[in-house]
Symmetry: C2
Subunit: 391 residues, 2 copies
C-alpha cells in the first residue's frame, strides 16, 4: 500500500425530512449570509427550495439565491455567482441539488476568496482556501457531497476539467433518499452508472497488495448490482434509494481508494462526450467504460477476472482467465443496458465523424501533452481506437 | 435504513515513517503545550518516543510526558493526567500507543475541561467538550484512532465502561503499519480479533434492508480472514499489516455501521472478563463471540447464514439454513483458534466459579438494571448460560 493522507471532515445528516435541518446546520458551521445555489425548476416545483429557505428563515439567516445550474455546469454561471457573493457579502454557500449544483457551488466558493481567475484551479492549481459550503443532495451520483472535487466546463473551447482541494469539502451534507424518488429513470440510471464508474476508476490500480480497498470497492459494486435494478423497477423504494445514496458517498470520499494508484481515464474520455453533446455524464460513462476496459484488459487480466468473479459472480476459468475477465466486462455492459443506459455512440447521440475532434481536445486541450496517464498510459492513437469501439 | 448522522473529521496520515510528522500535525491543529501520553517500555526502547519528541522539538513545541498506561486502562492514571494537564497548562494531548493509551488520553482530554468527575462520562454523560488530541498508533485493534469512543476501568469496583462524544475524535491519527511489526503474536492476534468483533457487533442488527453496510462489513471481515493468517505467519509482512491497519480504522469509525441498530453484547460480556482477569480484550472476545452468537443465533438464522456464506465461504444449505449459520460460527471460532487465540475459560485464565460474580457486575453494576440490550435482550439467566458455554 502506498503512503497516503485521508481527510473527510464533512458532517453527514442522512434520512427522511432532514432537509428541514439545513438552516440549523448552516448556523452550526458559522454561516450568517448565504448564497442558495440550485438548478432548475424541479427544486422549486417540488417545494424543496421552500422547505430549505424556511429552515434558514427559522434560524434568522438571510440569503440570496442563484438558480440555473445546468448538467455539466458552466463557467459563466460560476463567474456570476462569484460576483454575486462579493456584492452581497455572502459567507456561506448552500448547494441544493445534484453533483452539478454542488460542483458549481464549490467553484464559486473557491473563486470568491481568490484574486485571480477561478479557472486556474481547473488548470491544475490546488484549492487551498474557499468559503464554507453545505449541500442538500437531490441525486445519488457524483459523490460531490463528500468529495474534495469539482468538475466545470469552460464555455470557450468547451473544456470540461476538474479541480480539487480539501477546502471545498462540504462542511455538512444533507442526504434524504426520499428526495431522489422523483428522479426520472434515465437520471437515476445515469447516477448509478456514475457511482459504479467511481468504483471502477479506483479498482483499476497498479498498486499491489491492496486487499482492504479491493474488498471495500467490491462491496459497493455488489450493493449497486443489488439495489440498481430494484430502484429502476420501483422508483419509490426508499430502502433501495437509501442504500444507493450512502454507497454513492462512500464510492467517492476516497475511504475505499486510499493508498493505491487510480485510473480515471474513463472519466477523461467521457468528459469530452458530455462536453460536446451535453449528454448525462453517467450515460456517457456507460458507453465509455466497457470500451476502455476491453482495450486495457490485457494490462492486468487477473484484476479484471477478480472483479468478474467477486462482483459479477462469474465462474473462474482457471485455464483461460482472460475469458473470465471478458465475461466480467460483458456483465457490466449488460447490467448498464438493463437499467436503461445507452450501449453505443448512436444511442448516446454521439457522432463517429467527431472522433478526431474529441481526441484532439481530450489529448491536447487545456495544456495536455498528448497522453492520458492512468491504469495504462493512452496516446491519441489509443484514444481514437477506444472511441471507435464505442460506435 | 434508519436516519443517522455521521462525522469523522480525523486527519489520517498513513504509511512508513509518518511518526516523524507528529510535531508538524500537532502544530497544524493548534497545539503549543503537549502532554505525551504513552504506555510502557516498548515505546521508549524502540526509539518511537524519541522520534516523536524530536518531531515536537523540531517544531518548537514544548511537552510533558506521562507514561504507564496499562492494557485495560485505569481511572487512577486518568486522574493523574488531568491534574498534570491543569498544572502544566497543556493545550493538546498526543497519545503514542494502542487503544488503551488512546482511550486514556481521551478520558484525560474530556476530564481537563470538565468541572465534575470525569467518570460521569463513563456513566452515560455525552462528551461535548475536550482538549484536542492526536494519536500515533502502535497496534491495529481498538479503532480508537478514528472513533468517538473510550473505555476505562474504574479501580473501585473494577467497572469497565465506555464513554463517547465527537469531541474526543482525534484531530489527527498517524498510522505507520511498520510500528506494528514488532508486536508479539498474541497481541497481534488479539488485535485482529478485536477488529473482527467491531465488525460482528455492527453486523448483528435488527434493521432491515441495509445491504450497503452489510456488504462493507463483510468486505472488512474478508480482509481480516485473508490478512490475519498472513501476518501471524510473517510478522514483518508490511503489506498485510497495512491492510489490517486500515481495516481496523474502517471497522470502528462507523462508516460501515451507520443507519442500523448494533449489538455490542459480546463487548459487554467480555469487558467483565478483561476487567477481572486483566486478559487481552481481544483474547476475551475470541472466547465470548462464538458463545454469544451460538446463543442468539435463532433470533435471525438468515443473518448468520449470510455471514457464513459471504464471509466464510460456507455452502448454503437451503433446506437447513441453521446448519449453515452454525457452520459460519464454527468457522469464526476455528479461525480465531488458528491465529492463536484461546478457545475457553481455561485457556483464557478465567474461572467457572466466578460466573455469579461476573454476571452480577455485568447486569447490575454501575447502574445497569439487569439486562443487556443489543441484537437480543439478555437477562442474568441468559448471561449465566453464555458464560457457562465458554467454560
Amino acid at each position: 500500500m502506498d503512503n497516503f493522507t485521508f481527510y473527510s471532515p464533512t458532517f453527514f445528516v442522512f434520512g427522511k425530512e432532514t432537509e428541514n435541518q439545513a438552516g440549523e446546520y448552516v448556523k452550526r458551521f458559522g454561516g450568517s449570509r448565504v448564497l442558495v445555489h440550485y438548478g432548475g425548476k424541479s427544486a422549486k416545483s417540488s417545494g424543496l427550495l421552500d422547505r430549505v429557505e424556511m429552515s434558514l428563515d427559522k434560524e434568522g439567516i438571510s440569503y440570496v439565491s442563484l438558480g440555473g445550474v445546468k448538467p455539466n455546469p458552466r463557467s459563466g454561471l460560476v463567474y456570476e455567482g462569484i460576483e454575486l457573493c462579493k456584492k452581497e457579502k455572502v459567507d456561506f454557500i448552500l448547494a441544493v441539488g445534484g453533483g452539478s449544483v454542488i460542483d458549481s457551488a464549490k467553484a464559486i466558493a473557491a473563486g470568491v476568496v481568490y484574486d485571480g481567475d477561478f479557472w486556474d484551479f481547473y488548470s491544475g492549481k490546488l484549492i487551498e482556501e474557499a468559503l464554507p459550503l453545505g449541500t442538500v443532495l437531490t441525486i445519488a451520483a457524483a459523490g460531490s457531497e463528500g468529495s474534495p472535487d469539482s468538475v466545470i466546463t469552460k464555455e470557450e473551447g468547451m473544456f470540461k476539467r476538474g479541480a480539487t482541494g480539501n477546502a471545498i469539502r462540504p462542511k455538512f451534507s444533507i442526504l434524504n433518499p426520499a428526495l431522489t424518488q422523483s428522479l426520472p429513470p434515465h437520471q437515476t440510471a445515469a447516477g448509478i452508472t456514475d457511482i459504479m464508474a467511481h468504483l471502477y476508476e479506483r479498482y483499476l490500480t497498479n498498486t499491489k497488495e491492496v486487499e482492504v480497498t479491493d474488498r471495500l470497492i467490491e462491496a459497493l459494486l455488489l450493493t449497486m448490482r443489488h439495489e440498481g435494478p430494484r430502484v429502476i423497477a420501483d422508483p419509490n423504494n426508499y430502502e433501495a434509494r437509501a442504500n444507493i445514496m450512502w454507497a454513492g458517498m462512500m464510492a467517492h470520499n476516497n475511504a475505499v481508494g486510499v493508498g493505491r494508484s487510480q485510473d480515471w481515464t474513463s472519466h477523461d474520455i467521457e468528459h469530452e462526450l458530455s462536453a460536446l453533446y451535453d449528454c448525462a455524464h453517467g450515460a456517457g460513462l456507460a458507453v465509455t467504460m466497457p470500451a476502455v476496459f476491453t482495450y486495457v484488459m490485457k494490462h492486468d487480466i487477473m484484476r479484471f477476472a477478480k472483479a468478474a468473479v467477486r462482483v459479477w459472480g462469474c465462474e473462474m476459468d482457471f485455464d483461460h482467465p482472460e475469458v473470465t475477465a471478458r465475461e466480467g466486462i460483458e456483465a457490466l455492459r449488460n447490467f448498464l443496458i438493463s437499467i436503461g443506459m445507452p450501449r453505443n455512440f448512436k444511442e448516446l447521440g454521439a457522432r463517429e465523424e467527431d472522433i478526431p475532434k474529441l481526441v484532439e481536445v481530450l489529448c491536447r486541450g487545456n495544456g495536455r501533452n498528448g497522453t492520458l496517464n492512468g491504469f495504462v498510459t493512452l496516446n491519441e492513437d489509443d484514444c481514437t481506437k477506444i472511441y471507435r469501439m464505442m460506435v
